[in-house]
């Protein structure tokens, strides 16, 4: 069983939003809602400024609060590590939305259930990359199997300093960020 993960190499991201549109088209995300976004953070004063561009999405946590807080058992952690949703069991109570520290979930109001990034499981099943990864202009998003030492994600994590978002939340994310040049600490 593969152990899926994503690496976001922020050095490569140019905030072009191709991932955002591809995701919405692939997954029929309703207007006004997003499964992924790109955040632009700027610090400092002119002309001494520093910028961070950060793609955000569901972290497919190994310790997922959305799953623990789901009262109906709709949210679950699949064997391959993806955090997914049994739509027919969801009652739209928003417990998962409230418990996600990454603001990665939304209620699909047209269909009536909670929704979020699935790493495009439908594409993975066909042997394709998630839509955001496939179209990523900067090749900033990398997807693959952590258990396969030859995979692009394993190589990226082996070679580069990386971190996760809100490590202190204890969620054990499966989305890793390479912010800067440097080898793992």
């Amino acid at each position: 069983m593969p152990k899926y993960a994503m690496v976001v190499d922020q050095r490569r991201c140019v905030a072009c939003m191709a991932c955002v549109v591809a995701c919405k088209k692939e997954n029929e995300v309703p207007p006004g809602q997003f499964r992924t976004r790109v955040v632009e953070l700027v610090e400092g004063e002119f002309p001494r400024l520093r910028m961070e561009l950060r793609s955000e999405l569901c972290n497919h946590c190994d310790n997922p609060p959305c799953v623990y807080n789901c009262p109906t058992g709709a949210s679950y952690k699949a064997a391959d590590g993806m955090v997914l949703l049994k739509k027919h069991r969801c009652v739209g109570c928003k417990a998962c939305v409230a418990s996600c520290p990454y603001d990665a979930r939304y209620i699909n109001e047209e269909k009536g259930f909670a929704d979020k990034c699935t790493f495009c499981s439908q594409r993975i099943a066909e042997g394709k990359q998630p839509a955001c990864v496939a179209t990523c202009i900067g090749k900033s998003r990398i997807f693959g199997d952590l258990d396969d030492p030859a995979s692009a994600v394993s190589a990226a994590l082996r070679d580069n300093h990386h971190e996760v978002l809100l490590a202190s939340a204890g969620t054990k994310p499966r989305v890793f960020y390479i912010k800067k040049f440097g080898t793992p600490e």
Binding site: C16, F46, M51, S140
Partner: protein, 732 residues
């Protein structure tokens, strides 16, 4: 539908007992059916038209609907990827605001009142007016304004009709001065896509170019690869762009002084002998004259002009020199800034020559020398009157100088222009000084606009013809002359919606009505494409399946011992000193001119791109509008505080001639100098037919009432307007 627990139960109950619930959601049903293996999506290869990069795309078609677009892995401009706009291409296809039938104007020009017409009625009307203009004034009195693939159909129509007067905003309002400057230096331009060898650059320089925000698919892929490989990036920009955020050196230059910085770099590189002497000895001429001309362009002098430190100028010059020849100073694309833009492009060319980077790894690679034979057709008639679309500019390009046609339309000199055909360009948003454009249009006997959307320009037309989108039509084969020679096919993913028609059909129909059918001697464009494929030895059936064919062994990217460089200049060498320019009375070596700056209380208006929009073309696209529905005006935090303007608050821009903009949100930020404000181009649509884009954001072109014409090639510098920022509702 707002979700509530009740509606949710209803919907899920219905879905549980029958498929009827899906009837209201046919697309969802189809996706579900696809998941069950009941339906198979097909992928139709074509190429994108949301911008001009022409990326190979695969249209995923499910039961007659384009549900997704993906990059074609075989295409050199896409490499399997599409940008946000390309991903959102179906937003254009299914935009309910599309032009659906031919329309004939019923109100006054600009009143936006039209009635529906049949194709026969609309085409007959156009043909009768074109015949009358030809009889009364001569065929030269009709002009074509065009951009993109429609050009392949309508330019032959114009030439067959007998007029040479074409104007493409892509020249005088965009790339023109860049290409002319490089042609004068190297004997050829940089091409499109630009032949910049970014992935091998050790140092990369961007002047104003904001790659990333300015989205050119394969070039941005290369840019990211270069960054990841640790290339040093120098960004010269008054704004802390996304690219500046990635830079090792951000030089927040005073706008309009770029040429001073370039000349100082040349000065340092010569003074410190950082140039490639062997390369210059072999390939260049005019070094002594160049050295003499820049002898007083010291870093200290440039520092005063540019508002940068002399140290940073010297340091960056040395970085270029020490990494030569693997240095790429990007020549930019939209280069019409200050009216001395050819000379700025020349300065970039001269730097490239000094560093020996033209035709070298990490600099600029050479275009393929391979070419394809032309499919011969009936020769066009020779116009009787001389073209007026080049004005009196000795180096105007064949794409024409749009505002010269506009001027002739207004003045009747050197001869009157009575009819305009406009295809693939929104002139009201592309050309400076809209008032002049409106006055010229009001003088016309005929304005025909062929477009997909009811643009601001379409809404001025006498007859509007609805072209179908790129996903519904064939177009001419796209021959890419980049590193290798490539051929790409545009083919319909589905039949045209509504009563829209392909551009080729429209051009052919007009030609038939003017007894010019011989120039379009095929029934369908596909026939012509097949004939071309046969001529070129390309298997058409294969091309239909793969979308793009790259001709093997057609690349010759670098100067080698076996393939020395050739320069098609007068001297056969790289011209550091240009005799051609000297002969025509221009500076043979670029010379800096100080341009007027903002008066107290004013800001220079600079504009640029968003990665999710192409000009004004995508402002109404529902899928892209969602991400960036209206532009913002970037204003320095300190200045905003002085003016009492808060972030996110609506303000109004008022230019030096008193023209007021639509309201626009203020983006109060540290990311811009105090002497300029910045907006993304293409917003503030005036067409009521664009339900999302209408009056959203400010139209930068409306503020560009003044422009500085480059005397060398006729291009219009448009970064020469100044605005005050007023709080909404406050009238001066």
């Amino acid at each position: 539908m707002k979700f509530s627990r009740r509606t949710f139960l209803k919907a899920s109950g219905a879905a549980g007992c029958s498929l009827a619930a899906y009837a209201a959601l046919p697309e969802k049903f189809l996706l579900w059916a696809e998941e069950q293996g009941m339906l198979k999506a097909s992928y139709v290869p074509t190429f994108c038209e949301i911008c001009f990069w022409k990326c190979g795309a695969m249209a995923k078609v499910l039961n007659g609907r384009v549900v997704k677009l993906e990059g074609n892995p075989a295409h050199p401009g896409a490499r399997g990827k599409l940008c946000a706009r390309g991903n959102g291409g179906a937003g254009l296809l299914y935009d309910p605001n599309r032009l659906k039938t031919p329309l004939i104007r019923t109100g006054a020009r600009g009143e936006q009142k039209y009635r529906k017409a049949t194709w026969d009625e609309a085409l007959d009307l156009i043909a009768s007016k074109l015949k009358r203009i030809k009889a009364e004034s001569g065929p030269e009195s009709v002009a074509l304004f065009t951009h993109g693939t429609p050009t392949d159909h309508f330019l032959p129509l114009l030439f067959a009709y007998g007029s040479p007067n074409v104007g493409m905003p892509s020249f005088a309002q965009c790339r023109g001065p860049r290409d002319v400057g490089l042609e004068l230096t190297f004997g050829e331009g940089i091409g499109s896509p630009e032949r910049v060898d970014l992935t091998r650059s050790k140092v990369l320089v961007l002047f104003g170019s904001h790659l990333g925000e300015n989205m050119h698919n394969s070039q941005v892929q290369d840019f990211a690869d270069a960054l990841a490989a640790g290339s040093k990036l120098i960004v010269v920009d008054p704004r802390f762009s996304i690219a500046a955020g990635k830079a090792h050196s951000w030089l927040p230059i005073r706008p309009a002084t770029d040429l001073a910085l370039m000349l100082a770099w040349i000065h340092v590189i010569i003074k410190e002998q950082l140039y490639d002497k062997a390369y210059l000895d072999s390939y260049a001429t005019g070094f002594a004259e160049l050295a003499e001309a820049v002898s007083d362009c010291t870093p200290e002098w440039a520092a005063k002009e540019t508002d940068l430190s002399a140290e940073s100028i010297v340091e960056t010059a040395r970085l270029l020199g020490h990494n030569a020849p693997n240095v790429c100073i990007h020549p930019g694309r939209h280069a019409t800034w200050y009216g001395d833009d050819v000379q700025r492009s020349r300065a970039i060319g001269i730097l490239a020559a000094l560093l020996g980077s033209w035709g070298r790894e990490g600099g600029y690679f050479l275009a393929t020398r391979s070419s394809l034979p032309k499919l011969e057709g009936k020769p066009f008639p020779e116009p009787v009157k001389a073209p007026l679309n080049l004005g009196n500019f000795p180096f105007a390009g064949a794409e024409g100088v749009t505002q010269e046609i506009r001027r002739a339309t207004l003045t009747g000199e050197p001869y009157p222009i009575k009819g305009w055909i406009v295809t693939g360009t929104n002139l009201m948003k592309a050309m400076p000084n809209q008032k002049e454009t409106v006055e010229a249009i009001n003088k016309l006997d005929l304005l025909v606009v062929v477009d997909v959307m009811p643009t601001d320009t379409a809404m001025m037309a006498d007859v509007i013809l609805p072209e179908c989108t790129y996903l519904e039509r064939h177009d001419a084969l796209a021959v890419g002359k980049g590193r290798s020679l490539s051929i790409s096919l545009r083919q319909p993913a589905l039949q045209p919606l509504y009563d829209s028609k392909p551009g080729w059909w429209i051009a052919k129909q007009i030609a038939n009505r003017l007894d010019l059918g011989d120039y379009f001697p095929w029934q369908t464009l596909e026939e012509k494409i097949q004939a071309q494929c046969a001529l070129w030895g390309v298997n058409y059936q294969e091309l239909k399946k793969v979308g793009t064919i790259t001709i093997p062994d057609s690349a010759n990217p670098y100067i080698t011992a076996d393939a020395p460089a050739e320069f098609k200049t007068g001297s056969g060498k790289i011209e550091l000193y240009s005799k051609e320019l000297k002969e025509k009375g221009f500076d043979p070596v670029p010379r800096y001119t100080r341009h007027p700056g903002p008066r107290p209380g004013e800001f220079r208006l600079v504009y640029g791109r968003s990665p999710v929009h192409t000009f004004s073309r995508t402002a109404n696209n529902p899928e892209l509008h969602e991400l960036y529905p209206e532009n913002e005006v970037w204003i320095n935090s300190g200045k905003a505080k002085e003016l009492g303007v808060k972030n996110g608050e609506y303000v109004v821009l008022v230019n030096q001639d008193g023209v007021r903009s639509n309201r626009i949100k203020a983006k109060v930020t540290q990311r811009i100098r105090t002497d300029c404000v910045y907006v993304v181009h293409g917003f503030g649509a005036a067409s009521k037919g664009l339900s999302r884009a209408f009056a959203k954001g400010a139209d930068d072109q409306g503020m560009i009432t003044r422009y500085a014409v480059d005397p060398i090639c006729g291009s219009t510098g448009m970064h020469v307007n100044f605005v005050r920022v007023e709080k909404e509702g406050v009238h001066a």
